[in-house]
């Protein structure tokens, strides 16, 4: 099998149907799986009992811009904190993950003289739906 390489340039991300690739520098969907371990008389037994997904995004702050993601998230977190936002994350053509996240307040500010950046960690509601083709 030939070596396959996909990079961050293959990623594409939409939040609430809007594409933010031009602001985002990193997007990672990951799962924290809880596995219980039972010591039986015979041996150890393992049971996966839960998984909590997280979506981490790093981006340049875009306050004040048209279709600002920072402003949209701030408004959503303020006015509808329990209403999930639809997210689509394309790892590469043919591998798309769809899921919902709860809005969070973006951080504001940064260090001089660098560009202001925002790091957000979204809690994913439920389990992502994958589409492999």
């Amino acid at each position: 099998m030939a070596t396959t390489v996909i990079t961050g340039r293959d990623l594409a991300m939409t939040i609430a149907t809007k594409n933010y690739d031009e602001q985002a520098t990193s997007a990672t969907l990951s799962a924290d799986v809880t596995i219980e371990t039972y010591n039986t008389l015979y041996s150890k037994a393992y049971k996966s009992i839960d998984s909590q997904w997280t979506f981490d995004v790093e981006m340049l702050a875009d306050w004040g811009a048209a279709d600002s993601l920072c402003e949209a998230l701030w408004t959503a977190a303020e006015s509808a904190p329990n209403t999930a936002l639809a997210v689509s994350l394309t790892a590469v053509t043919g591998a798309v993950f769809a899921f919902n996240v709860l809005p969070v307040f973006p951080s504001v500010g940064g260090a001089s003289p660098d560009a202001q950046t925002v790091s957000m960690s979204f809690t994913v509601v439920g389990t992502p739906t994958e589409t492999f083709s």
């Binding site: 690739d21 031009e22 985002a24 520098t25 990193s26 560009a115």
Partner: protein, 129 residues
């Protein structure tokens, strides 16, 4: 609509912004700069892809602005250079990261000696068409 370019979207706007404070401004490497001057040229690394996706080319653009003044005598040349750098820093528009300023050193350009130093700058550029 003409295609966007780093020259028209990044270097020329920066040059235009400092034209009021630097007598001679260049948005590329000048053959024979006339003092006092400020020249905006590529830094190392120059272009850094740092965003998601392949839809549009999106880059961090690292620049260096070389600032030079006439080298009449050490004290006045340094004073003139410091004043010019301070006024340029005040005139740099928003959207540009301003980094360190190097120490000025004497340089020979042709038959003349100048005092020149560098201002580190960076910004972000998206190819729009």
């Amino acid at each position: 609509m003409p295609a966007s370019s780093i020259l028209t979207s990044v270097r020329t706007p920066l040059k235009t912004a400092i034209q009021g404070v630097a007598a001679n401004t260049y948005d590329s490497v000048p053959e024979a700069p006339i003092v006092p001057f400020a020249a905006i040229v590529p830094n190392v690394p120059y272009l850094q892809p740092s965003f998601l996706g392949k839809g549009n080319v999106k880059l961090k653009v690292n620049l260096v602005m070389t600032v030079g003044v006439a080298m009449y005598d050490n004290q006045s040349a340094l004073d003139n250079w410091e004043k010019l750098v301070i006024s340029i820093l005040a005139a740099i528009p928003s959207g540009y990261e301003v980094g360190d300023v190097s120490n000025p050193i004497p340089l020979n350009i042709g038959a003349s000696e100048i005092l020149a130093g560098e201002i580190q700058l960076a910004t972000y550029y998206t190819q729009t068409n």
